[in-house]
């Protein structure tokens, strides 16, 4: 099996509103899969379904061969997720945050302790491991958030807008770290609004709009097909230049 994710006709309705419209795609193991789209395109909804947090209205998806609907517990053990919203508790210290999630993943305490030490060193937060996360800068929080997603040694890492709102140094660190994850053999799904980021990092790119995947392929192939030098040009060619944020606003009001 050479695919980390295989999705077939994944669909999600919120009431009468269709957020993800019969989407099919495959993510190869060990690649960085860039998922791009304007606001409200359905990226986050799609990702939340893959993460087993949202139940699809129709269609199916396998993560490392496990069905997201029938075997959600198995899927959860294999994926690490960095969402747009930080999954961290501000009053707790980094160690407490990581211990909490590590225990929920069922890691043995001794192994967990070791893993936390190792990860905190990796994300350069060892020095502040006993300070409440609430006192951290955005960049520090995001680094810890990434460490949290990697706690249980997942095979697939999903990063939803991981560099949003970070300073240039932190952005650089996160981007290098993503490449590092791939080099270690992990599969990465990356969503971003930053086309340069996708251009730099992704191996395969899927362009999504209005709940559908409009185009998907190897980054270089896409550029060649549309006679473009940048992924941004391909993106704008496919999704147009008019401004939009309506659908996302509607979904936000529903609490998503």
């Amino acid at each position: 099996m050479s695919y980390a994710v295989e999705a077939e006709n994944l669909t999600k309705y919120f009431g009468s509103l269709i957020a993800v419209d019969s989407v099919s795609f495959k993510v190869k193991k060990g690649e960085i899969f860039g998922l791009v789209g304007p606001n409200g395109a359905g990226k986050s909804t799609l990702i939340r379904m893959i993460c087993t947090v949202l139940r699809p209205s129709a269609g199916k998806a396998l993560v490392e061969g496990y069905d997201i609907m029938r075997q959600p517990q198995e899927v959860r053990k294999l994926i690490g997720v960095v969402q747009e919203k930080l999954i961290l508790y501000a009053p707790l210290t980094p160690v407490e945050n990581l211990e909490f999630f590590g225990k929920l993943y069922g890691l043995d305490y001794k192994i967990l302790k070791e893993r936390i030490k190792e990860l905190l060193e990796e994300v350069k937060l060892s020095a502040v491991k006993d300070r409440p996360v609430g006192t951290f800068s955005t960049g520090m929080r995001q680094r810890l958030n990434i460490a949290r997603a990697l706690l249980h040694d997942p095979k697939l890492v999903i990063l939803d807008e991981p560099t949003n709102g970070l300073d240039p140094q932190s952005v650089r660190w996160v981007r290098d770290y993503i490449v590092n994850l791939r080099n270690r053999g992990l599969t990465v799904i990356l969503t971003s609004h930053d086309m340069y980021e996708i251009d730099e990092l992704a191996d395969t790119v899927a362009i999504m709009d209005k709940g559908k995947i409009l185009e998907m392929g190897r980054k270089e192939d896409l550029k060649k097909k549309y006679g473009a030098t940048k992924i941004e040009d391909v993106f704008l060619e496919l999704t147009g230049r008019e401004l939009r944020d309506e659908i996302s606003g509607r979904l936000r009001r529903r609490g998503w």
Partner: protein, 381 residues
């Protein structure tokens, strides 16, 4: 060997919630400060027996027999020496009733014509009319007058200062609120149960919707943890927090208002614990339909406020009209308050409050049996 089942995860989530709560100073302070404020407010608003003195009451004597006069003199002596009452003698009943209406006195004690005659042949009756405008004072006055007459009866039966052929005096109260014994001791357990349940509910609304709003709930949902562990872990954190705040409030009421505990503290804790759980289950059901914190808090408030006034905290449930009483009995607060009060004030054993305990237990089980799948549905939509 580490246990890794749903109960372990439940414990991990509970501990996290409590640690988080403990870390945020404002929340911690409010947990201690709110009960103090409530106790001060209620404690002084509804003072105990010992704190109110010299309550003016009227005496009307319509019988000039020596027997009546000797009993009245003893009554006045006892009433004033205890400093609870200030006795004013009126010559006519209409004057005394007028004074009662005007709020100059809080009760009228009437010795009717023939009182002395009745006393010398057996039992005599004294009529007492009590001002009902202030239910709490009413309770204090009633209890106080009853106490004086029971002391008087002891003296009468032992012929202490009275002729041996005198019988005893029975008191006939008019227009009394049924069921309410007296004083802050009746009210305190209700306040304690209420503050604890309210605290639990407020915390719960926060615990769920805040995590959904922040996005951390997704983080928990993405771990291979059962929904049972998430819901129960959070509910348990509130229950533990509630018990701690209950202990603080009880200690404060003992120190500040001289409230006494007559019953078993573990039974009291058990009732509070089940009360919080029952309400928590109900709260999860009510708030599972909204995803933001503010709406959740509004729903909780709508659930709480009416409950507080109909659950026997301020006055007995018996006093409510039947339909309101039926509504009160549909919610767990009334069982928590009744059970907790019976144990705390009347030293009721488990056998006496088992029905309250059972109702709360069933309530908890049923609400959680609904809440857990509902939570699962709501978070995964």
């Amino acid at each position: 060997m580490v246990m890794k089942g749903p109960l372990y995860h439940l414990y991990v989530i509970m501990k996290k919630d409590l640690t988080e709560f403990y870390r945020v100073r404002a929340r911690l302070v409010s947990m201690i400060l709110l009960p103090i404020l409530l106790m001060l407010l209620f404690g002084y608003m509804f003072p105990g027996n010992g704190t109110i003195t010299h309550i003016p009451i009227a005496i009307v004597n319509q019988d000039q027999s020596t027997g009546a006069i000797s009993v009245i003199n003893s009554f006045i002596y006892m009433a004033q020496s205890g400093k609870t009452f200030n006795v004013i003698t009126y010559s006519s009943l209409s004057q005394a009733e007028q004074a009662l209406l005007e709020g100059k006195v809080y009760a009228v004690v009437i010795f009717r014509q023939g009182f002395g005659q009745e006393l010398s042949t057996g039992s005599a009756t004294v009529q007492v009319i009590v001002d009902q405008m202030n239910p709490t004072l009413d309770q204090i006055v009633t209890a106080g007058i009853q106490q004086i007459f029971s002391q008087l009866n002891v003296q009468l039966s032992t012929a202490h200062g009275f002729p041996a052929y005198f019988g005893t005096v029975s008191v006939n109260f008019q227009g009394l609120i049924p069921g309410a014994p007296s004083s802050f001791e009746f009210l305190a357990p209700g306040f304690i149960a209420m503050s604890v349940v309210m605290g639990g509910l407020a915390g719960l609304a926060m615990a769920f919707s805040r995590e959904r709003e922040l996005g951390t709930m997704d983080g928990i949902l993405m771990t291979p943890v059962s929904r049972f562990s998430i819901v129960m872990g959070k509910a348990m954190a509130q229950a533990v927090r509630g018990i701690i705040s209950g202990i603080i409030i009880v200690i404060l009421s003992i120190l500040l208002f001289g409230v006494k505990i007559y019953g078993n503290v573990f039974l009291m804790a058990l009732i509070l614990f089940l009360g919080i759980l029952a309400f928590t289950g109900l709260g999860i059901i009510a708030t599972s339909f909204v995803s933001d914190q503010e709406s959740a808090q509004m729903i909780m408030l709508m659930l709480e406020m009416p409950m507080i006034f109909i659950s026997g905290i301020f006055y007995p449930v018996l006093q409510l009209p039947w339909w309101l009483r039926d509504i009160a009995y549909m919610f767990p607060l009334v069982y928590t308050v009744t059970g907790f009060r019976s144990v705390m004030v009347m030293n009721a054993p488990l056998s006496a409050v088992w029905n309250d305990v059972l109702v709360l237990l069933i309530y908890s089980i049923v609400t959680f049996a609904i809440a857990i799948p509902l939570f699962q549905r709501m978070v995964t939509k």
